[in-house]
């Protein structure tokens, strides 16, 4: 139990710094910035207190808002995916996910990919809606969601593969 606590604390701080100091300085091809901090919500232990995840996601988002001058957009997006997560776990891994206590990294690649992709898309859509905050800019919001979402998914996938401990 203590090691999960340690891992999640380390992940929280590492992803926060990675986001602010590296990912938001990238501006790849003009305006592409991946939001890798969603990995914290994605990888949070499945068997855990939902309220603590919601609260932690909110805190992470709020600290990012403070660094990136984005009002409360990151906090709103992060807290939303933290709340919606169980539904998507069920959708991607089947209803049994709760009882089997699956390790995410032991699961097959395809359900893991759908789970990552769906939550990232929802997160980015809420984020860019709040950042632009203008209904006439719907096209730009959608474009940014897809492009940045793809970039985030790629990086999240690579980061996850890099740091996961394979037990096969």
């Amino acid at each position: 139990m203590n090691s999960t606590l340690f891992i999640n604390t380390a992940r929280f701080i590492a992803l926060l710094l990675l986001q602010v100091l590296v990912c938001n300085q990238l501006n790849f091809m003009g305006s592409l910035n991946p939001y890798v901090y969603v990995l914290f919500v994605l990888l949070y232990p499945i068997v855990s207190n939902r309220m603590s995840l919601i609260f932690l996601a909110f805190t992470l988002g709020l600290i990012l808002d403070l660094f990136l001058d984005s009002g409360g957009a990151h906090a709103a997006a992060a807290v939303s995916i933290a709340y919606m997560r169980p539904a998507f776990l069920k959708f991607s891994f089947g209803a049994a996910y709760e009882y089997q206590a699956i390790k995410l990294n032991a699961a097959e690649a395809l359900p893991r990919l759908t789970y990552f992709a769906l939550l990232i898309l929802i997160h980015h859509f809420i984020l860019f809606t709040l950042v632009y905050f203008d209904s006439s800019k719907f096209k730009i919001i959608l474009y940014n969601t897809l492009i940045n979402g793809g970039f985030t998914l790629l990086l999240v996938w690579l980061l996850n593969a890099l740091f996961s401990s394979k037990k096969s």
Binding site: V20, M51, L66, S70, G72, A75, S80, V131, F133
Partner: protein, 268 residues
Amino acid sequence: MQQLLNFFFKNRTFLLFLMLFSFSIVLTITSHDYHKSRFLNSSALMSGSIHAFFSKIGNYFNLKKENILLLEENNRLKALNLNRSIQYTAVSNDADNYQLTPASVIKNSYAFPQNYLTLNKGERDLIKEDMGVITSKGLVGIIDQTSSKYARVISILNTKSKINAKLKKSNHFGTLEWNGENHRSVQLHDIQDLVKLAKGDTVVTSGYSSIFPENIPIGRIESFQLNDTKDLYIINVSLFNDMTHLRHVHIIENLDFEELKTLKEKNE
């Protein structure tokens, strides 16, 4: 009462979510309002010092480019000084109205509709809200938040920013805004359709705003078209500054700012 408590207990996850979500929405809405974004910003001490620490590392990678920029500026100023030295007395006495403070950019963004910069100078360096920020090449933005050591600047690449600007050639003035699309150009609005425009004309600050002195360069006219009612131009201005590489800037203080402000308020 029992049922009410039960209800809260049963839905506590949803209620927590709802509470935190609405709190962040309120923060977002206030941040979109020019005068209310006071809660969270990057001039705060903790985020400011982390940005400052890491920008020190980044500084080394740009030394060469910065040196060339400084050399160019020195060269320009020297040339100006040599050419002016004879008629120096002709410079009017309003030269002392503005005071400059050098500062470094420790955080910059340009990929969002609302971009802000953070500078490493704050209240203890006598930096206040509503001071202008420029580089040797041109306009950067206006300071909107300060903490004791840091200041936040609303970049001209911010859809909230509105700055008074004019055409250098003909002195026609309008409002400089940004449509949030391209970080290389901003838009000048409210110029009459009678005015003759040409590509490449220079746009400078008008000096009406009491934040910036007159004739600070902004950019060149890239293209122009009439607005929907066909009586005013919308002019695309390509910026002199490369907003993606800002390191050293100057903060302008108008020493008469308070006086001008009280005069304005009296008239209203």
